[in-house]
Subunit: 214 residues, 2 copies
């Protein structure tokens, strides 16, 4: 159930609180925006994440500013947004977007146990591009130390979803303009080999068939 | 110049502070993540924005929680992220993403002058889909009142940009795996007409040729 802090306030009919929908959104995306405060100033940093059951592991590239003030964890808001389309109505007022978003509130803690950190990095890697982990050089001790990962329990959350065509006021349906949806999606392009790649090394199937949608 | 708060701390070679690059990123995207704090809890809300010179206009769909505590403006962080690709290196540690992001800090104020609000809504509309504004029913007085727009001056900001192939440690270049970049981009799909559209109304050229890249 939503808390007072996660209950969707505006366009509340778009609020979704079931865990399955939330997990689907979290699993389709891999980029989140992490919000936290330092001396009263909010910061919002984009970074990657992976989901392991009821935990979100957040890559520490976002963590430098956070970590300086981190001891027992830091209060964060992690937001994941999938943009699905522009909704073009007959009135400007009823223009909208189709999207699916998740907001998670909670205390993110630094993962300091080396075994959990290794697991977390594997979860992150598999979340972003499955099968890559086994195909590359694994982290050594120095690299593990140099990487920071945050763990955020998925406990206090909500999602917001809008799908479908525009909804206009009754008297606007005769307005002489086109109305509908312009779909937007993340397109995966043709892989570009590293110029330093040894000749004859083929693009692996898991890269070639890479997609984010189920 | 960056302030102590906007100077890029991690991977500082990726920091970009020139206004032209920042404007290019802001103009290619139209979705931002707005961060603000309520009672010490950070919130991060996705919403649309438009740029008018040195001001960002942020759509009030994000504002409900904010506006309740808003009087003379609210301290925010607005972050805009364009994801350009997965960077697959030979070691997990050197995996990365190609991206362009902008972070703007400042005080967002509610636009309450009706003339500025109308201008702001037009800026937002033209930013998201040029030529739509003139093709639909304009806002009436009731709708203008029901819409909230925030103005954020683009004064304290930084950008972060990563482009190009993976960069591996020298000793990893012989590791037997594929390395390179998987490009990602926002794809615009075929417009879907509203089922309630009157028959024979064609998709306008500005919808048909819609794209986000320059």
């Amino acid at each position: 159930m939503p808390t007072a802090r996660t209950r969707v306030v505006r366009e509340s009919e778009r609020g979704v609180y079931d865990r399955e929908t939330v997990n689907q959104i979290l699993d389709e995306a891999f980029l989140c925006h992490v919000g936290f405060s330092v001396d009263g100033q909010p910061f919002v940093i984009p970074t990657s994440y992976g989901r392991d059951g009821d935990n979100l592991y957040i890559h520490g590239s976002a963590a430098s500013r956070m970590l300086r003030q981190l001891k027992d964890g830091i209060q964060v808001c992690v937001t994941v947004t999938l943009l699905d389309g522009l909704v073009l109505a007959r009135s400007i007022f009823n223009h909208s977007m189709n999207y699916r978003s998740v907001v998670i509130l909670g205390k993110a803690a630094l993962v300091d146990n080396p075994a959990e950190k290794l697991t977390a990095l594997r979860v992150l890697s598999e979340h972003i591009i499955p099968q890559r982990w086994e195909d590359v050089r694994q982290p050594n001790e120095r690299e593990l130390k140099a990487t920071s990962v945050l763990r955020l329990p998925i406990e206090e959350f909500s999602a917001k979803v809008r799908i479908g065509p525009p909804i206009d006021d009754a008297e606007d349906y005769s307005f002489p303009t086109w109305a509908g949806v312009v779909p937007l999606e993340m397109k995966v392009g043709e892989p570009i080999s590293d110029p330093k790649l040894e000749p004859g090394r083929a693009v692996p199937e898991y890269v070639h068939s890479y997609t984010r949608t189920a």
